[in-house]
Amino acid sequence: MAVGRNDVVRSGRDAASLIEDGMTVAVGGLLTSNHPMVVIRELIRQGRTGLTVIGAASAGLEIDLMIGAGIVRKLITPFVSGEGLVGTGPCYRRALEQGLIENWEITEGMQYAGLEAAARDLPFLPVRGGLGSDTLRLNPDLTTFRDPLQGELLIAVPAIKADVALIHVQRADSYGNGQHLGATFGDRLMAFAADKVILTAERIVANEVIRRSPERTTIAYADAVVEAPFGSHPFGSHACYREDTEMLEQYVSVATAFRKGEEEEFNLFLKEFVLSCDDHTVYLERIGFGRLFSLRRAYDYMTVGGDNA
């Protein structure tokens, strides 16, 4: 009898165990969309420590939560913002103002050059953007040099390699083929720069569904797939549901209090929505059907890009 293909569907708990203390983890999505919250919460619950976190080129409150929960030792991301909700992530701001984590100062172009260098197995890639900015001056690992062909001044950005990339997609099959149904943000480059990829997927679909439109497969052969309906909550998930503004505002409020020295509300928030949620089902039950469906309804009328997940 022929050998069957590998099924890489895993529970959130098992997928998170691929990430050990001290590892470098890239977290996909951008600003308020497409974040792999199921595994992020699981890492916090499991008490992971000392992580180097590569956030998106424009990261948001998902990174802020990881910092506030104490699992980050070093941060590599050009931007941590909640936009109109809060200009600068409160836990990020607190950590950097007090020197609690190591911050590898960087711009978007440098982030992408570094990830690409890792993907291509090169020691560095050059950029021009950053010349004249203090971001360059503040990062001792960035060096300027003159190119050997034309003598132009450039910055050498060292390769930024990840042990694991955490990517949220709208659907994936059990062999690890993930499809984004909206924007892909920087997810593909993060996956290329990582040794292993964990996908959280709104829905796990049959391999035949993927084969119907293989050109829509944006991540091939991930190492683990976690079933995660509403898996980006409280952030939005393209083609599925919008962000939960109410919960994001609640987060901003408790994180800002934390930044100002009052821990209690933040700890209560963490307890209610992270630490005491044994798995994603418990989390969703805590949020409640009415709320989740109202977030989904906001996108249900949109008929772009084909089917919604």
Partner: protein
């Protein structure tokens, strides 16, 4: 006939829209409802061929021929209603050399058009106020042809002689600095606030007063600006919003993001 009352941020969007030319390529980043509105207004009026990326959404959008709405969160999937073409976010760097215009804002802007998103304070590792980070504005400065710097408040705290830390290098310390570093692009074109538009002097590269918002006296600008500036000989008041302009802006801004808080 013109509308009697308009919010300062509406005037900012309209003033910017008027300066966008048909067929130009541009991108607007995070927390930029004003500049989304400007790009969309321009597409709906004199510049339907503008190529614009709305926020961080990795799609080229066109709203010239359909109803549209600005959303406060720039990765909002609802922007995809206006999308024609996709790209992976890193691929924006393949487009930068085509971009005519980019919009930049921050914690502080200074007399040479530099912008700070890093933070306030002397010690970079113990900043008094840490900002969100430089995002992509240092990168665009090296390539994109023109930048508009915009600030949502006009006061001495934000408009300073020299920013504490440079995220976006404008003219840096004056003439010649950009050229010496090999930065492409012409640098900042305007500094736009809710009260005024500054352009940059050809020789000195310093901000100079170019346009006043309707009803704002020059003394107010001088009182509220933390750097010395010359006033251009051809300074005038901006034409207030026309009925058409304000009508379109208000259709776009159903969520009232550009209104006074």
């Amino acid at each position: 006939m013109t509308i009697a009352h308009f919010a300062p941020r509406e005037m900012m969007a309209i003033a910017l829209a008027r300066d966008l030319n048909d067929g130009e390529w541009m991108a607007s980043g995070a927390n930029t409802a004003i500049t989304f509105a400007a790009c969309m207004l321009a597409q709906k009026t004199h510049a339907p061929n503008i190529r614009v990326n709305l926020g961080a959404n990795c799609f080229w959008c066109n709203v010239s021929d359909r109803p549209a709405e600005i959303h406060s969160l720039s990765s909002d999937y609802r922007n995809v209603r206006y999308a024609e073409a996709r790209f992976d976010h890193p691929e924006i760097f393949y487009y930068l050399r085509r971009l005519d215009k980019f919009f930049v804002s921050g914690l502080q802007a200074d007399a040479f058009g530099n912008v700070n998103l890093l933070g306030i304070g002397d010690d970079p590792h113990r900043l008094r106020v840490r900002g969100p980070g430089s995002v992509g504005i240092a990168d665009t400065s090296a390539v994109v042809k023109h930048h508009y710097v915009f600030m949502t408040h006009h006061d001495r705290k934000r408009l300073v002689e020299r920013v504490d830390w440079i995220s976006y290098p404008g003219f840096i310390d004056g003439p010649g600095y950009r050229e010496e570093l090999g930065l492409r692009g012409y640098g900042p074109k305007w500094l736009v606030t809710p009260k005024a538009i500054f352009s940059f002097d050809e020789e000195t590269k310093r901000a100079e007063l170019f346009r006043l918002f309707p009803g704002i006296p020059e003394e107010d600008i001088r009182d509220d600006t933390g750097f010395e500036f010359a006033t251009r000989a051809d300074v005038t008041e901006l034409d207030p919003p026309s009925d058409l302009e304000i009508g379109i802006v208000r259709q776009l801004d159903r969520q009232r993001l550009l209104q006074d808080n």
